[in-house]
């Protein structure tokens, strides 16, 4: 006789497993120290499959260290990292495509040989690699450079080549660390299209950058890291909405005293002719407007706005 309890347990496990499959990357309580220096402290987050995940933070926040732990170059001192619901093994690593910020190519090697080598290191057979190399060189408009040496390539072309090298094994998780640095605006747009195309094939993308405008356009979810700690995380939509109620775009003359009141205003970001005002937690827009008028400030613009990711970034990172 089938035990009803067993069936329930079995189904529960099935559900949990399905959830696990939906999660590409799980980072749990991860810390990494270099001697006395804490690079990453108690970091936890999850990345769902098929999403573009923005990994944001100023230089030295611990982004690269975290990525290195994800791709298995270094091992966390505390906590654990799981990919596709499993512990990291060499086979699992072959499903990641990693474009590091510090990246290079063999100078004296021909483009084709070079790509073949990187594919072989990811365990792709030469026949399959050749097919994909042709596809990607064509997609990146580099076909005519196939038999040239890498030294002959311009910086932008080398960047594209490095991108191809990370794509040759058709990774399920793509990690791009500052992928647009060194590219001209035309190529940045081109690369964005390519990334969107990859996303449409249900691949998960981790996108690490300190350029908020690009992140804002590309990412579904974000994680903001500062001084080795997590500051903010969640879907970009939710984060922006939560800030939407207490950010004011202000253009006025005078009223400095009111704006410097820490009980009212938590942060001010100056733009060329207007200010972005982040309200303090228990302040509301009406109160600020009243106080400004009472102070005799001449107000020409007072608008409740949704802040840009850049403003959120600065608000969270500044003076903290």
């Amino acid at each position: 006789m089938i035990n009803v309890y067993d069936v329930i347990v079995y189904n529960t496990f099935k559900i949990i497993n399905m959830n696990d499959k939906d999660i590409t990357l799980r980072v749990e309580n991860v810390s990494k120290y270099f001697g006395d220096f804490t690079a990453v402290k108690d970091l936890s987050f999850k990345i769902r499959a098929g999403r573009v995940f923005g990994f944001l933070g100023p230089n030295g926040a611990g982004k690269t260290t975290t990525i290195r732990m994800i791709v298995g170059i270094t091992i966390p001192d505390e906590g654990k990292v799981e990919l596709f619901g499993e512990k990291i093994t060499p086979e699992i690593r072959d499903r990641i495509g990693y474009l590091p910020e510090e990246r290079g190519l063999y100078r004296k090697m021909k483009v084709h040989d070079q790509l073949r080598y990187f594919a072989a290191l990811k365990g792709v057979s030469q026949k399959e690699a050749d097919k994909r190399i042709d596809f990607w060189l064509d997609r990146m408009k580099l076909s005519e450079w196939k038999l040239k040496k890498t030294t002959d390539l311009s910086k932008g072309m080398s960047q594209k080549l490095q991108f191809i090298a990370t794509m040759l094994h058709d990774p399920d998780l793509l990690i791009l660390d500052e992928p647009f640095s060194g590219l001209d605006p035309v190529n940045v747009e081109f690369m964005k299209d390519v990334i969107a195309e990859i996303k449409s094939r249900d691949k998960t993308i981790i996108f690490s950058t300190h350029l908020m405008e690009t992140a804002e356009k590309l990412c579904d979810d974000i994680l903001l890291l500062n001084k080795s700690h997590k500051v903010l995380s969640g879907s970009l939509r939710q984060i922006k909405e939560s800030y939407g109620k207490n950010v004011i775009s202000l253009r006025c003359i005078g009223g400095e005293k009111v704006l410097n009141d820490k009980n009212l205003v938590s942060n001010i970001i100056e733009h060329s002719d207007e200010k972005e005002i982040f309200l303090a937690d228990d302040a509301d827009p009406q109160m600020l407007l009243r106080k400004l008028i009472e102070s005799g400030a001449e107000i020409t613009k007072f608008e409740m706005v949704e802040p840009s990711l850049n403003d959120i970034f600065i608000d969270n990172v500044k003076d903290k």
Binding site: R68, P100, R103, G104
Partner: protein, 450 residues
């Protein structure tokens, strides 16, 4: 394993499929063969016949002198000289010139000249005239009294720089005068030859097992082998270092480390470059064997009594074993240095200690060849770092007991394991450290940490 092979293949192709490799691999033996073949070839070109007149005022030397310069006699002397130079190679430059001259000899034609009852001036005038009319190339004036100590024999030549001809003439004249002097003192030439013959000094070595063997040419073979190992270790050690520094400088390391294990990467590199070195060495050894046997065969054909140094297949196997041990020891040291430094200049500074060790090993070889069974030879031929150069040389000079060879292999294998263990740890951390050179305490920490 797949990835290890991919790394190995790339490193091997990177070294072998370059012009530098092709040139050094094929031009070196060619250059070496030129050094051996060209002089032989050039010396074998026979000069023009020298027309020579003998103004023999004593009237007793001319006949013997002319006899000594007959082609048969000259050939006989050439053989003797060739033999001499093979059996006793360590001589001065001057002596070597003389020997090569003797091996060539030259051709002579005698021009009749009667010097009886003519004054010295008259002889010179007449013969100088013949020389300026191009009827004569050289002449010798033999004085009346040949037994006095201060007697001078004068030789005049149109081409005084032709040392081959000059040597032949000097030797022949010397012998002729000597014989005449002996005859004058009533000692027959045969008797003298019998009395003044050199002893036959035949070097034979006795191995530990009491066997006796010919010992000829082993010094040279040992020396060439030591040099070959030294050069190849130096070249490929540096090649490893520059390959590693390139990956660090160009920041490829991070991509590589996200694709394969650092240990796989480092080992693939070591083995790949090592096989490239082996390819080169194999080509060199093959050509060297061909050249040497060519040299020995031609020496034997010319009548020299020599034996080939006894190179058995066993010795060749040992040679390759010790080459591999040496390669892995030094290549690993260079890999270690490469992962500590940030560019090749810094690497060059750090590369001095391993070069020092290699050079010491090379110098030890000379002592070991002289006395392969000494305590000193025993120690330097089993110690790590030196054994890979010294032991093959010692084996060629005199095969030591098997346990000593086995001990050397074991000690050096252990050293390799230790070095690879250390290097892979330093490599793993060092390759991702950009911008600054690692200090020794830092490196020590990396080794302990991981």
């Amino acid at each position: 394993m797949m990835k290890f092979l991919a790394v190995l293949k790339r490193e091997y192709k990177k070294v072998v499929f370059t012009w530098a490799f092709l040139i050094t691999t094929f031009l070196m033996p060619l250059a070496a063969s030129l050094f051996i073949v060209v002089p032989v070839f050039i010396f074998s070109i026979e000069g023009d016949t020298t027309r020579i007149a003998v103004a023999d005022k004593s009237g007793r030397i001319s006949e013997r002198f002319q006899e000594n310069l007959l082609p048969d006699k000259i050939r006989e002397k050439a053989k003797k000289a060739a033999q001499e130079s093979l059996n006793n190679p360590r001589v001065s430059q001057e002596e070597q010139m003389k020997r090569s001259a003797e091996q060539i000899g030259g051709k002579f034609e005698f021009v009749e000249y009667n010097a009886q009852n003519k004054s010295l001036e008259q002889i010179k005038r007449e013969l100088n005239a013949k020389i300026s009319q191009k009827n004569l190339d050289a002449y010798v004036i033999i004085p009346e009294d040949i037994s006095r100590n201060d007697t001078k024999f004068e030789f005049y030549s149109r081409k005084p720089g032709d040392f081959v001809t000059n040597t032949s003439i000097e030797n022949s004249l010397n012998e002729a005068v000597l014989s005449q002097r002996l005859a004058d003192s009533n000692i027959s030439e045969e008797k003298l030859e019998e009395l003044s013959r050199n002893i036959a000094f035949n070097v034979k070595s006795i191995s530990e097992t009491g066997e006796e063997k010919e010992d000829s040419g082993s010094f040279w073979v040992a020396f060439i082998v030591a040099m070959l190992i030294y050069i190849v270790l130096l070249i490929y050690g540096q090649a490893i270092m520059s390959a590693i520094v390139e990956e660090k400088e160009t920041r490829i390391a991070e991509i590589l480390f996200s694709s394969a294990k650092p240990f796989e990467l480092m080992l693939g590199k070591l083995v790949g470059v090592g096989l490239a070195g082996l390819t080169q060495l194999a080509i060199w050894i093959t050509t060297l064997t061909i050249l040497l046997s060519f040299g020995f065969v031609s020496a034997m054909l010319s009548g020299a009594d020599i034996t080939l140094p006894s190179i058995t297949p066993q010795i060749i196997i040992y040679f390759f074993i010790f080459f591999f041990l040496g390669y892995f020891i030094y290549a690993t040291i260079y890999a270690l240095i490469g992962s500590m430094v940030t560019n090749m200049q810094e690497g060059g500074q750090f590369a001095f200690p391993p070069i020092m060790l290699l050079m010491l090993g090379l110098y030890f070889c000379f002592a070991v060849v002289r006395d392969p069974n000494s305590t000193f030879a025993f120690w330097v031929s089993i110690l790590p770092f030196f054994a890979p150069i010294v032991m093959p040389v010692r084996i060629i000079a005199e095969v030591p007991p098997f346990w000593q060879i086995a001990l050397a292999i074991l000690l050096n294998l252990l050293t390799i394991f230790g070095l690879v263990w250390i290097a892979s740890r330093v490599y793993r951390v060092g390759m991702l450290m950009y911008g600054k050179r690692a200090s020794i305490p830092e490196v020590w920490k990396w080794i302990k940490q991981s």
